[in-house]
């Protein structure tokens, strides 16, 4: 039994997705790691599985800068959506931006558990565990 059941990686950079997946799997912290390139897909998935605990992730690693729907838009929609979910979903913003303004803007979304800057390290990942 691993500490987490499911983690979503939401990022349009395939290399980043791959690296993050490898790191998460090496550390054996989740039973399942899913990758998304489009934030809209994640929203659709969550809406569909809102009542199904096993279909929802424990953790979402969310990039900010993405085409079509970016991280900001996702956060705005999720702010309302989260109340309908059958289990708590923790969200970490994981971005390459070190722009302080981005960090401050993320702080406006109080349900976001943390602002992480790339690259991820094993220590950072271990710190994400409940």
């Amino acid at each position: 039994m691993k500490p987490l059941q499911s983690i979503f990686i939401v990022d349009d950079d395939p290399i980043h997705q791959q690296i993050t997946e490898i790191m998460l799997e090496r550390l054996r912290i989740a039973d399942k790691v899913s990758k998304f390139s489009d934030a809209q897909d994640v929203l659709d998935h969550i809406r569909l599985n809102a009542a199904d605990q096993s279909g929802l992730p424990d953790l979402i690693l969310l990039d900010l800068n993405m085409p079509v729907m970016d991280g900001w838009e996702f956060l705005e929609v999720f702010a309302e959506l989260r109340y309908q979910l059958s289990k708590p979903v923790r969200i970490y913003v994981l971005t390459s931006s070190i722009d302080e303004r981005d960090r401050q803007r993320v702080d406006q979304f109080d349900f976001v558990s943390g602002y992480l800057t790339k690259p991820l390290t094993n220590d950072i990942i271990m710190a994400l565990l409940p």
């Binding site: 290399i15 980043h16 489009d38 931006s97 790339k118 094993n122």
Partner: protein, 869 residues
Amino acid sequence: MNHPLLTQVIEALPDPVAVFDTQLNLVTVNSAFSEESCRHLGYALKAGDSLRQLADLHPNLAMQSMDHWQAALSGHRVAFELSYGQPPLRYQISCSPLYNEQKEVFQVMMVIRNVQAETEVRENERFFRSVLENLPVGLQEFTPEGWHRNMNEAQKSILGEDHASNTGPYNVFDDPFNRRNGLTALLDEVKQHKEPVKREMLLKYTEVQDDNVTRIQPMYYEVTGFPVLDLQGDIECLFIILSEITEKKLAVLSLEKSERLLHTIVENLPVGYIQFDHFGFIRRVNQTQRKLFASTGLEEQPDSNLIQDPFARLFELDQLFLEVLQRGKMLRLEKKLEFQVHTGAGKIDREIFLDLTMFPVEDPVDKDQIVVALVNDITEKKRQELENTKNQESLVQTGEIGKIGGWELDMASRHLRWSGQTYKIHELPPYATMTLEKSLSFLEEESRSRVEQAMTACMNRGKAFDLQVTIQTARNNTLQARIIGKPEYRNGRIVRIYGVIQDVTEQFRIRNQLTRNAELMRLFFDTIDMGYAVMDKDGKVNFINRKAQEIVDHGKVIGRNIFEVFPSLVGSTFHARVRQCIDAQAPVSFSNFLPQLDKWYEFLLAPMQDGSISIFTRNITDSKKMQRELRKANDQLSSLNKFLVNQNKQLEDFAHITSHNLRAPIANLKALMQIMNESDNEQEQEMYKGMFQEVIRNIDETLNDLIEIVQIRKDLNVERETLAFADRLQKVKDILLVDMETSSIRLTADFSEAPHIDYPRIYLDSILQNLLTNAIKYRATDRPPSLHLQSRAVDGGIMLTAEDNGMGIDMERYGAKLFGFRKTFHKNKDAKGIGLFITKTQIEAMGGSIYAESQLGAGTKFIITFRPE
């Protein structure tokens, strides 16, 4: 002599006899005459009949005889011959006059003898003799003891005029020459067995005149000796018949010789040789084939029939044999045999390839059909071929992977040939016609002249070349390529130049990445004709440009604290202003006299996002008239201030871009390093290497884009020229011809109101190209795409609008990002988010502006305002 006595006498004679008187009346006849006359005349003549009766009945007979009868009556003994009857028989007629007492002829006795047989014998003999004389073969007769008795003309000429048998007694057994040539032995055998014996002998030599050369030629004869036996079976005489066979013999000898030669050749052929008779029995096998038999482990069975032979069955030779024999045609085929070989160590599976040729041959002597099989063991060759094919394939693969293409220039025809990969590198459809001239047109000007020189040197002096060049592909992409060329000579003349072309853009980029990175920074900051430095809030210098380095004129400053390097700055105006800037987080400008340098400097301090401070500075010492022209200077300063603020904003943009777009891949590199270090699985390592390359390529792309932007911002004074919109659009249409055709976009333009503009040519081309590319790339799928361009003279400049009917943009959602660096909002994989950013940069660099109006699903309209000079 009285009458009855006469009758009795003639009756005694065996031949027909008649006696007639002077009146030709018959006096008496014998019975033989009666019978004979009865046989020929139909009735018997008898005494008292007249011979004239005969003449009446057979005038021919009488005519032949009458004169002779009269002659006999005149007292002559007459003998003559006549032929008579059917078939004619020869008779000899003798007439003898009979005298009376008065010695007068009163009667004639006529004796008729049938000489037919004698005549025949005599004629036969003459005939045979003449035949023998004239035979083309020599004929010689000897006594049983060997003494020469007779020979014909042919024999005489064979033996020669001076042969002993012509001059005197000659014994064939005593001639020593005959013992050597075998004639003695032959005649001995004839005598012993009393049977003909035939043998071929070299009997003499003859001189043959061949032009001026006399050659001695041996003469061969077929000698037949036979005995003629008497009634007792004893040898009466010996005959020899000599028939010249020199020509035949020589032919046979040369045939034997060539056959021996053929045999040797066949035996030593490097190809297996099997000869079958027409029943399918193996008649001959050469040593190569014997070796093959041995190596296959099958026993050679030369006397066995094809049908039972295991080797033949293995080959299916039996079927082939029948086909060849029945059709009379040559067959050639390759066979692959798999079988097991028994060796000392056990069984080994073997596989051999044989090239098998079978053809029918007619035996020149027996006229029998024989069949020859040539068996060539081509296993090695086949293996080589397979190897070659494999090599070829791997070569092609290497070509594709390494992006290496081939080319060759035929010197005679000037024909240039490209491999598929070469076309690919040039982004051309494969096998488009290619000429040297056309191929050179893809090279950048400087590269082109170098390649032309190298080609000329190669053609004239055979100098090989290896050049790095820049290629503009058919789709207008720029590539770095390496072209290698080598001459090929035949008979001392250069026949072709061939070589490879390799796309080394990636290698080139990776290799030069660090250099370029540094260059980028230098380029950017050295463009400012001011000292520029970045220091953190404590005073540590993180960056300093060339100009600033000149100003401080103090060895290594970067990485050190400015207040430690120049302690005098502590507590100075500069120091105070830095504090002010940090506290207010606002730009601060001032001028300051630095006593230790004895110079006046203008400074602009600007706070940055990360807490650092950008310092811009300029030496104003030279303007000694500063105080006098204080007002003017102030004006300048304020305009400079504005400019610097603008610069600063661009710098900030740049910092933002750097933080976003360069950090992401670098973060990836870091993470990759970490997971790579944690793994020692080779396969994983390989995968990580691939990912590294991908990330580096990504960084490289970003850097190249940044360089382009920096170039544009740097080249503020880029030359303007008067351009016709229509000309520039045509040029862009040429470049995008393929894309336009594939999308079948309908492009319309109206430049009548403002046909010309003063603008940098490359910028205008780039702007038009980006507008057109966007309209194609983001066309709606449900209608044919269209784009309308229109230029207008507006207050203070020229306005260009580009209106398409494409998919449109949700301006509310994406408007802010539309012209951003690396911003995309389509799932389109082609979208890089750079085109509009560059367009905007190019327009703004020249003082213009761009904005967009759009309706999702309906189309987009870009409105560009070009500021006048």
